[in-house]
């Protein structure tokens, strides 16, 4: 069985960038993005200085996280090991960009779909080497079948020691590096200095370590002298979706608690307001998700050509189910049928919890983002749903007739959720992890997202808790409303910091 792979010989690579340009020519790759690029690092002190190169590209992994996360099979692994794509299926969700630990994928600005090195599979089909291999002046790129013992790449692999990038991600990458300086393939051990790169502008999109990690002060061993830009894939719309989703799910969860507490007959609040809120925020969630797609018109591909292993697909169906049960709940309210509401409350709550929590599994599929791999993400998302749902309930409460008991239940849910969040976040940030995780933590607490993070702590945890206690103590709806508002603002600020910090750690 054929297994194609690359071997880059950095004993001979002269860092000339011919591969980069030949690739651009073969695939008409637009400005601003690259399927392959050459990174430069500089080490040492004069006169014992050296510049090292590393050629970067898709690693054509055996366990390709981009394939696992792709919701529409736009990315797929061929029988010959090449990870290829068919962008007519791509909806532009960019999840693959966070799944890949190598920064290998990009959004093609011309097609608004995700592209990457595909081993020039259209050339391989006719028996031609990839164009980067052909152009290389020093024949430093080997592309061939590692299961054919007579192939040049097999012989090279047999004779020489090689390394791969990020082996700890378990992706079984198939770009093998010979003679490479280890710092040149470890993006966490070099950084772009404050005066930039050797012969190109540095932009905010150029990946580099931007924060210091006190415990690991010596990890930077070289400067990044040249690399290419890799903009953040998920930004405001994704963090906003986490908030709307939390509120939507939380509204049903709060409703279910109310039902369990015997308030199924509160038609206005439990029967109508909460499911309407859930549905409005579910719709907003869907709208944000679609709006974040680079191909929004193709959003339905998730349902028509689903890749069931992707939590994006699973999540979409969970949200759909959540919406369905919220609708039935609303129907119960409209028909003034507390029995119907009671009947759907438990399955609706489960789907709401799934809606709130599935993102933990989606983020877990983002193999490139260690920070998101935390086991605490699921409880955190559920607690956020609690805070969001109860919070919105408390905001709406003054406009409805609520029993003191129900209001107290909501307040306790809110307080409990906030305290749980405080505990979870504290645990998260005080735990040790990979360098990647610690850099992301640091970016969140001391780096570019610190205002958002500390804002979330002060508003969403401290203020929300104090106000909730005040509400419990005084029974005043004003404190309840303020506490709910603070909790939701806190969730929003935290999620934005969390989403961005997770992506702030360089992968290349």
């Amino acid at each position: 069985m054929t297994r194609f792979a690359f071997l880059i010989d950095h004993d001979t690579c002269i860092g000339c960038h011919a591969c980069t340009v030949a690739c651009k020519a073969e695939h008409n790759v637009p400005l601003g993005v690259n399927r392959t690029w050459v990174k430069y690092i500089e080490r040492g002190e004069f006169p014992d200085t050296r510049r090292f190169y590393s050629v970067n590209r898709c690693n054509h992994c055996d366990d390709a996280p981009c394939v696992s996360i792709c919701p529409t099979t736009a990315l797929f692994r061929r029988d010959d090991g090449i990870v290829d794509f068919d962008d007519s299926s791509c909806i532009g969700c960019k999840s693959c960009m966070n799944a890949c630990p190598y920064d290998a994928l990009y959004v093609n600005p011309e097609t608004q779909t995700v592209h990457k090195c595909n081993f020039c599979s259209h050339r391989v089909e006719v028996g031609l080497e990839p164009s980067c291999v052909v152009v290389c002046p020093t024949q430093s790129i080997f592309a061939g079948d590692i299961h054919d013992p007579t192939s040049k790449i097999s012989i090279m692999l047999g004779r020489h020691d090689t390394s791969v990038k990020a082996p700890e991600q378990g992706t079984k990458p198939h770009v093998f590096y010979k003679g490479v300086d280890q710092a040149a393939i470890d993006p966490l051990r070099t950084k772009i200095a404050d005066d930039g790169m050797i012969w190109a502008d540095t932009t905010e999109h150029h990946p580099t370590v931007r924060v210091d990690t006190p415990g690991r002060g010596t990890q930077i061993v070289a400067r990044t002298a040249y690399t290419t830009a890799h903009p953040m894939a998920w930004k405001g719309k994704v963090s906003a979706y986490l908030v709307t989703k939390a509120i939507s799910a939380g509204a049903i969860l709060a409703g279910a608690i109310a039902v369990l507490a015997g308030h199924a007959d509160n038609r206005a609040f439990v029967g109508l307001a909460l499911p309407i809120v859930a549905l409005i925020f579910a719709a907003a969630t869907g709208a944000l998700l679609v709006a974040d797609l680079k191909q929004p018109k193709r959003f339905y591909y998730i349902f028509t050509r689903p890749q069931w292993g992707s939590w994006l697909v699973r999540g979409a169906f969970i949200i759909l189910g959540h919406g369905l049960f919220a609708s039935i709940w609303l129907l119960g309210g409209l028909l003034d049928s507390p029995d119907l509401i009671k009947a759907v409350a438990i399955p609706a709550a489960l789907l709401a919890a799934g809606t709130a929590g599935y993102t933990a599994f989606l983020f877990g599929q983002c193999e490139g983002r260690d920070f998101w791999q935390t086991p605490l993400l699921l409880p955190t998302l559920l607690a956020q749903a609690g805070a969001g749902g109860a919070g919105l309930g408390l905001i709406l409460a003054p406009f409805f007739t609520l029993s003191d008991e129900l209001r107290t239940v909501l307040t306790w849910v809110l307080l409990g959720s906030v305290l749980a969040l405080a505990f979870l976040i504290w645990t998260e940030l005080s735990s040790k992890g990979t360098v990647h995780v610690e850099l992301a933590q640091r970016a969140m607490t001391h780096g570019p997202y610190k205002r958002r993070f500390w804002g979330s702590v002060i508003i969403g945890l401290v203020a929300a808790a104090v106000l909730a206690i005040a509400a419990l103590a005084t029974g005043s709806w004003v404190f309840g409303l303020l506490s709910g508002t603070a909790a939701i603002i806190g969730v929003a600020l935290y999620e934005d910091a969390f989403v961005r910090a997770g992506q702030s750690v360089p992968l290349s």
């Binding site: 152009v135 024949q139 932009t203």
Partner: protein, 981 residues
């Protein structure tokens, strides 16, 4: 579960593989080049299996001088070029390319390229243009030149070329016109090293056999730049993988230095001291090739003239040389170079491992192009090759002429008989070659004027030092009557032309070139791809511009048609050289020209073509290159037969040289020498070595001249043997405490090529910035913050740039890469917007309004940047995606001319003051006083020892010279003789 069909393509393969099993190959087999099918990459990305039919047409790259092979993939359905890959049939590049090769397509489809002939509509430099026809351009320019020739103003026609990418065409044109008007770019490029090599062996460039060397000694950056980057890099790495040690000398950490076993960063200009110390160590330890030196070096001359006290026996040679170089101990060299004595000893030990014959070396630009006396660096490096016996050997270095083949063009004219003092001034009798950078100064001081100035792929305002003096000259219509810019793209200089005539890129023109890339000889054939494709499709093309984009032409046909306009009735005897033999009375066709050349001038080609049943031209059109059969090692050892001696009536001189009567080697009167003299050498046949007449080297002695009688006789006896000249930027002369530093402004990047790649979007995306490299310790001493703005003050002005701290440069030296700093004066048109800043220019008297600058007088100039690189609208959506903004700073404007008094090389290194920028300085600010430029020009001119030399000659007859005139043109009344004697 999937509701829609699986669109995966993998099951649909129909196109058959050209390789068995899972094997892959690099290129389509040549027999299928005329009809090759590939799957379309962009359709493949959409899951579509779209077959695309191509015709593969070989051509050569026209970015750097290497002329690597390219294969143009012409889409048969559109006639457009889809991509350019390498040409596997090209003996030098072997199917591989650097980044600039595949980038050629971005030059062909550059949305800003000039597509039609333009004539200026307003004042010169005002930026107003009208489109004209080629007929109008040819008629008007032809009439101008014709009038100048009829009025005996031949010297007023100047042809000034950058890197021509062709070996013989224009030389033929200029001889036919009878003008001595060739002006090259050599003295901003390679003059220094050329003189160093030429004094030894006549040939002025080395050809290293890197792939087979044990030690590769580079005073160059051949793994990223230089002649010939890609072919040489291939072979250097081959040598490295076979175990060769690489030594790289460079004051800054080049990519080449990074790949070396030994990076040496001596103080700039002290390299010769280090090399001489190594040479002396080799002699002391006996690690030298005695037999080679005995046979092939003029050691008798060394002893006779340098140590007349000793018997002239070979045994005395080594001790005498050790004595002669007594000063050059490792300690002295260490003190001068800033490299430890131990390191110098270590390098000498490494070099010693190459004895015999396995030292490959190259001095390309670098120290030889940077320093006054830099030519001695190449000379001292060659000394190591000589001592290690690594000359003409496998794994050594051959003279370039042995590994290069220049075909004799058809219809060669009699040599012209003129000497143009404006290009070959009396002050520089040994220069290699023309004093091109001094042209504006010569014009300003009244040495002559230019009626018609052809600039061809040449951008003197930008590339040359002292660009404002060029600007002043080029905008003064009294000094330059008409400027015709032949160029594929806009440039700073084309902006100041009267005619801008678009000429083809690599895939759009004919040229023939051959370079010394390895041991062997080849010629590469550049082809106009669109024309060849049209002809293959049965659409006849009369002139290449008919098939090219717009009306982009090629120079070869341009010169033919222009020559007809100059001399329509052959009354000047010019037209006949551009007339068809097949159809007399009509212009020579381009196919006829190359058919004649390939049929008659290239050994082995007709036979190789016949073996495939092809005419020679068809063979070259098919393969785009040809390797001339036969080995090229040890050419100097070839035996000259008695028959050859008899046939030439050669006469043995007292030194054993077989000289031929009527040549530069043997004549009573210079005027007896008729016809074309050899490009290099005096026409002698060989030299007797141990009783056998052998070919030798094209020096007067036919040997390697460690002792150069030429330097002695032409005014420089102190430099008769290889030596060390302290540079104009010698570190001990600098006032470091007050901020003086050495500026290294020349280094190149692997991705760009002078101003020729400004429109190549992919290349400029990779590299577009050139911060000033400075060692952190220097930055601290000078108070320059991280990334801070710096004002670099030269002798004539200053520029403001950003600092970049790096451990990759010697403290005391700051470096700014040569490529960036492009500018344009109009936001719409001019220098490509992928690479240029919009600039504002203030001239000497008033605020500069283009075309109105007072000219001919020196003045104060100031340039500021209005904006850097920005996205722009064009037919290519990529132009709207430009994400970078830095265009760099045009440092060359602030450099005075610094011609080496012997080689004529512009000494690029600058003695500068480096300081934090002033409060009101902005990035990109430039100020220059051309009055000071004139002063510096005069200072450097005063360093020369003008000719004429012995015999009243303007230049040694045997020395290389482009477009060599009749020997009699070398004669001059000896009115300026005796200067400095």
């Amino acid at each position: 579960m999937s509701l829609l069909d699986d669109l995966s393509r993998s099951a649909q393969s129909q196109l058959s593989r050209i390789m068995p099993g899972s094997q892959l190959t690099n290129y389509a087999p040549v027999e299928r080049w005329d009809d090759w099918v590939e799957l379309d990459a962009e359709a493949w990305a959409h899951g579509e299996r779209k077959e695309r039919r191509f015709r593969l047409i070989p051509t050569t790259c026209f970015n750097c001088e290497a002329c690597c092979g390219l294969l143009a993939y012409v889409d048969k359905s559109t006639g457009q070029i889809a991509k350019l890959e390498g040409n596997p049939a090209h003996p030098a590049s072997r199917g591989r390319n650097c980044a600039k090769g595949p980038a050629t397509i971005t030059q062909v489809y550059d949305p800003e390229r000039i597509l039609y002939p333009l004539k200026r509509a307003g004042k010169r430099g005002e930026g107003k243009w009208q489109r004209i026809t080629w007929e109008q351009a040819l008629s008007e320019i032809g009439e101008r030149v014709g009038t100048a020739l009829r009025e005996d103003r031949h010297d007023e026609v100047i042809y000034h070329v950058g890197r021509p990418g062709d070996d013989s065409y224009v030389e033929r044109v200029l001889h036919a016109w009878g003008v001595d008007s060739h002006n090259s770019h050599t003295n901003i490029c390679s003059s220094g090293a050329r003189v160093g090599y030429a004094t030894w062996m006549g040939f002025d460039r080395p050809s290293g056999d890197h792939a087979n060397a044990k030690v590769i000694f580079l005073i160059s950056s051949h793994l990223e730049a230089g002649h010939y980057f890609n072919p040489h890099a291939q072979r250097i790495i081959e040598g490295k993988m076979r175990g060769a040690k690489i030594i790289c000398v460079d004051p800054r950490l080049s990519n080449t230095a990074s790949m070396s076993d030994h990076w040496l960063a001596p103080w700039p200009g002290t390299e010769a001291a280090m090399l001489l110390a190594i040479a002396r160590l080799l002699l002391q330890k006996g690690a030298w090739d005695r037999e080679f030196v005995r046979r092939w070096v003029n050691w008798e001359e060394v002893l006779r003239h340098m140590r007349p006290d000793l018997d002239c026996t070979f045994e005395n040679f080594a001790p005498a040389v050790i004595d002669l170089y007594e000063e050059f101990t490792p300690d002295y060299a260490a003190q001068q170079c800033g490299i430890t004595a131990d390191k110098i000893r270590e390098i000498a030990d490494v070099v010693a491992t190459a004895v015999p014959g396995k030292l490959s070396s190259h001095n390309w630009r670098a120290a030889a192009a940077g320093n006054e006396g830099g030519w001695q660096v190449a000379r001292c490096l060659w000394f190591l090759n000589v001592l290690t016996g690594s000359v003409g050997t496998e794994g050594g270095v051959s003279p370039n002429g042995w590994n290069k083949f220049i075909p004799v063009p058809p219809k060669v004219a009699h040599p012209h008989g003129r000497w143009n003092d404006i290009t070959w001034p009396v002050e520089y009798p040994l220069a290699h070659h023309e004093a091109s950078i001094l042209l504006p100064h010569f014009l300003k001081e009244g040495r002559g004027k230019v009626d018609t100035y052809f600039s061809r792929v040449y951008n003197p305002i930008w590339t040359n030092p002292d660009g404002f003096s060029w600007l002043e000259a080029l905008t003064n219509e009294d000094l330059v009557g008409c400027h015709v810019a032949l160029t594929p793209t806009w440039s700073e200089s084309a902006w100041f032309a009267d005619y801008v005539l678009p000429m083809g890129n690599g895939a759009e023109r004919h040229d023939v070139a051959s370079y010394e890339t390895h041991s062997g000889r080849w010629i590469g054939f550049r082809q106009p791809v669109f024309r060849v494709n049209a002809e293959k499709e049965g659409r006849p093309v009369n002139r290449t511009w008919e098939a090219n984009p717009g009306e982009v032409w090629e120079e070869n046909e341009f010169w033919i048609d222009l020559s007809w306009k100059i001399d329509p009735d052959n009354s000047l005897g010019i037209r006949e050289h551009f007339e068809s033999n097949v159809n007399p009375g009509t212009p020579l066709g381009i196919d006829e020209y190359y058919d004649m050349m390939f049929r008659n001038s290239i050994p082995g080609l007709p036979e190789a073509a016949a073996a495939e049943g092809l005419e020679p031209l068809a063979y070259m059109r098919k393969y785009g290159a040809f390797e001339i059969p036969g080995g090229q090692y040890a050419v100097h050892e070839r035996v000259v037969t008695p028959d050859e001696i008899a046939k030439a009536h050669a006469v043995r001189s007292v030194d054993g040289v077989y000289q031929v009567p009527g040549t530069a080697g043997l004549h009573d009167n210079v005027s007896d020498i008729g016809g074309h003299m050899p490009f290099i050498g005096d026409g002698s046949l060989g030299v007797e070595i141990d009783g056998v007449v052998r070919f030798g080297f094209p020096t007067p002695s036919r040997k390697l001249e460690m002792y150069s009688p030429m330097l002695r006789d032409w005014g420089w006896p102190e430099y008769a043997i290889p030596g060390y000249i302290k540079s104009h930027v010698h570190w001990e002369d600098l006032d470091m405490a007050h901020g003086e530093r050495i500026l290294l402004p020349t280094f190149r990047l692997p991705t760009l090529i002078h101003t020729r790649s400004g429109q190549a979007k992919w290349l400029n995306e990779i590299s577009h910035s050139h911060p000033m490299w400075i060692h952190p310790s220097d930055a601290e001493k000078l108070g320059i913050g991280v990334g801070g703005l710096v004002r670099i003050t030269t002798q004539i002005g200053y520029f403001v740039i950003r600092a970049w701290r790096t451990e990759g440069i010697r403290p005391g030296v700051v470096g700014v890469s040569h490529h960036m700093g492009r500018w344009r004066l109009d936001d719409g048109e001019g220098t490509p917007r992928y690479s240029s800043a919009l600039a504002a220019l203030a001239g000497p008297d008033t605020s500069y309004s283009p075309g109105t600058a007072p000219t001919g007088t020196d003045g104060q100039w100031k340039m500021t940047q209005v904006k850097g690189v920005t996205p722009f609208e064009s037919a290519d959506p990529d132009s709207g995606r430009v994400w970078w903004s830095d265009a760099g700073v045009h440092q060359n404007l602030t450099f005075p001319v610094q011609p080496d008094p012997i080689s004529g090389m512009h000494c690029w290194l600058q003695r500068v003051t480096v300081a934090p920028a002033h409060a009101d300085d902005r990035y990109g600010d430039i100020a220059v006083d051309t009055g000071k430029s004139t002063e510096v020009y005069r200072e450097w001119l005063a360093k020369t020892r003008p000719g004429p030399g012995p015999g009243g000659l303007r230049r040694p007859l045997w020395l290389a010279r482009p477009v060599k005139p009749l020997a009699s043109a070398y004669l001059t009344p000896p009115k300026q003789w005796n200067a400095h004697r």
